[in-house]
Each structure stands twice: as C-alpha cells, then as structure tokens.
Symmetry: C2
C-alpha cells in the first residue's frame, strides 16, 4: 500500500518526533476529563467512545490542528471531507452539523466552537513531498507522518490517508476559486468540541508547517491540547 510506503524511520530513529511511541493514556485510552498536550510538530491518537465529547484546544491561538476520525470497528470507514461537503451542501461544517464518513454515516456532531469558525476541508495534510516542493531539503516533520505514527503508537493499521479536517486553517477560496494561505484568525484558548456518534479513534497533528504563515504570521509551530469527557 502506497499510504505506508513512505518511511517515517527518520523521525522515529533520532527521537526528535516521538509520535510513533508516545500515547495519551494506555493505548490511547484517555483518562476522562484529563487535559493532554499534543506537542508542537507532533501527532497523537485518542480513543473516543460513542457519546463522549472530544475537545480540541488552540492553546496559543495561532496553531492549525490537522484532525482525523476513524471508526474503531473498521478504520477503513472514516471522517471524509468529500462526503461531508455534499452532505452539508457547504464547504465547512459549523456548530450543530453532523460530520459523516465515507459511508455517509454520522461519526461526529459539531457541538461547540469558540472561534470565528474559520476551518478548512479542502487541503491535504502536509507531507515530505510538500516540504520538498516548498524548497526544504531533508526530512521535515509533517502531518501525514504524524498520522501514521500516532496510529502506529496505538497499534492501529492505517488503511489510507484521508483528507483532514484542518481546524483553524485559514486558506479560503475567493469567488473565482483562487485560494490563499493566511494566518489563523483564532484566539488563544479557542476550542472546538465534537460528540462521538460511534466509537472512534481521533488523531490530532499540531501542524509543523514553518515555511508558510498558516500557523501564525511568525510561522512558529506550537502545541495544542485535547480532552475527552463524558457527555454533559
């Protein structure tokens, strides 16, 4: 499978990106109500049971979260941006929306959003090829490898790399279809929350992009935080 064939051994071997072995809780099972850090440039996977609420926090306000959700029973079914858009008949979900999988089943309900609601459904997660195209030489941390590593850390086989839901990413399309890459408009401590509509594995990558200003005008990747709680 090509989705696996691009090695993240470089990141794993030198210890600079421990996404492949550090987990949130035992096997990614979180302590309910605990606040966990997703370190800058890294990814983490977390198990969320049906009815529980996942909250993702933009600790510094300027950080993009690449976000995925996979069905625990079959990770080949997952949150899917190309299915979500026709389901909602809009480019980006807002509070109250059901977010669907590639089988068009609701996997998450968008419960709350303290930010201005600027998120992205259009752009693939960054990968080694993206950084190469932007002029970087050698390995660069990237959200695609973070996804692979975070799932590997909890022994989940990744069936494919879906398009992520890019929380707080400000890359809108103009009326003529042209897209722009801008810093987030979110603020320190902004948070989004989702209710799990089935048992799922959520993955969050604190995007390591430092060659474009999507993680703030200073292009400095920072950490995020997340928690899983029982329904209120």
């Amino acid at each position: 499978m090509s989705d696996f064939s691009q090695p993240f051994a470089a990141a794993r071997a030198d210890g600079s990106n421990p996404s492949a072995f550090e987990t949130l809780g035992e096997g990614g099972h979180p302590v309910l109500g605990a606040l966990y850090e997703v370190p800058a440039r890294q990814g983490r996977a977390v198990q969320v049971k049906r009815g529980e609420v996942l909250t993702i926090i933009n600790t510094y306000g300027s950080q993009v979260a690449d976000f995925w959700a996979f069905c625990t029973a079959d990770p080949g079914e997952h949150l899917s941006m190309e299915h979500l858009r026709p389901s909602l008949r809009k480019l980006c979900p807002t509070v109250g929306d059901a977010l669907v999988t590639n089988r068009r089943r609701a996997i998450l309900t968008f419960l709350s959003d303290s930010s201005k609601g600027v998120h992205d459904t259009l752009v693939a997660s960054c990968d080694i090829h993206r950084y190469r195209d932007l002029g970087h030489s050698g390995y660069h941390d990237n959200c695609t490898d973070n996804l692979r590593m975070a799932l590997a850390a909890i022994d989940v086989v990744l069936p494919r790399v879906p398009c992520p839901f890019n929380l707080w990413m400000n890359t809108p399309a103009h009326a003529n279809g042209d897209m722009v890459w801008l810093p987030p408009v979110s603020q320190q401590g902004d948070a989004v929350s989702f209710r799990a509509e089935m048992d799922l594995i959520a993955v969050v990558s604190a995007c390591p992009m430092d060659l474009l200003p999507i993680n703030g005008a200073d292009a400095v990747p920072r950490s995020l935080a997340l928690s899983v709680s029982t329904a209120s």
Copy 2:
C-alpha cells in the same frame, strides 16, 4: 478493506450494468485514435501511456463524467483532489495546469477544454449510501461501484476510492461556502483532453444520478465518449 466491502454483486448478477466485464480494447488497452463509448450509468477503465493524450467527450452536453487516474506502476498513487487544490492554489484546474497525485507528482497535464471550464473537485462519487439518503430503495447504479467494476474488469486492484475530478459537474460554492447542485453548462460535443505524464489507468463513469439535476434539468443520465491518441 472497507473500500471493497460494499458488494456490487447486484449490478453484476442481473447484467444490467456490465461495467465489471466489458472493456475498452483488450484488457483496457485502447486502439489509439478509436472513439469508445462509455454507456449511460456505466464505467470504463482505459490504459494510457506516458505522453499519450486522453480525450473525454460530452456527447450529449448534459452528462457529468466522474474521472479518476491511477499510476499503472502503483495504483495506490493516484490523481488527488486534496493535493491538487493546494498545488494549484485554486479549487478547479484549468487548461495548462499540472494535475498531481497524492505524492504531489504530475500525473496529467490539462491540455484543452472546449467547455466553459465548469468542473468540480469537491464532491465524492455517488454510492449506494448517497441514493439511500436521497430516498431511493434497493440497488442504484453509482459511480463508486462503476469505478470498482471498471478496474475489476481489467484485473486492477483498487486500493481506495479517491475523490473524483467531476468533469462538467456544476456544483459551485457561493462566497459564504454554501454549495448548489445545478445542471451542467456544457454543450453537446464539448471535450476535455489531458496528456499523461506517466503510465496511468484512467477511469470514467457516466454518472447515473437521476434524483438531482446534475446530469441536466431532465435528470436523464446519458453516455459519454473517450479516445486515447498519440501526442499531436
């Protein structure tokens, strides 16, 4: 793999959709310059060698073509809408653009487009779940199964169902992000052509959607045509 687990046996068994066994040329290898029909509601796969030109023709003008391209050497690498958009920094490619894969390599160059250039990169191919959600009961021909069947017909293992490039599909997003489902603005005989930048397998499905007006105001699915030729 979930991408395979949804059976198309119903379509195969009653012979109403022969996409799983009818091929364009031997094993999908076309006679160069020959004009092939993609029958209404069906899908076909065709082998295109690097440097050859694939032309897709909207015979009746009102028909959407769900279009995919997979690398022959490794079908896990394929034309990818979520990688294409950031590569081009726009929602939809136009003539002259390089269309990239999920490894951000050019797989096609958009050579010509006699239509007004209204196409879609945002919407998943229709599937049995889509028709169920729209109120249809029982099996309905769909582009996702057409993709699976067309590749099965030439003995290619489908690694996943990528988001298609929906030629002539007129489902634009307004400035506020809301999307609308409209008939194509293309005309009878409109054609697009692409140069293959690597050996690839192209799949075209003549979309069987008859519950929304995307295949014309009369919502009647019709056939398409295609040809493969040497570079001019």
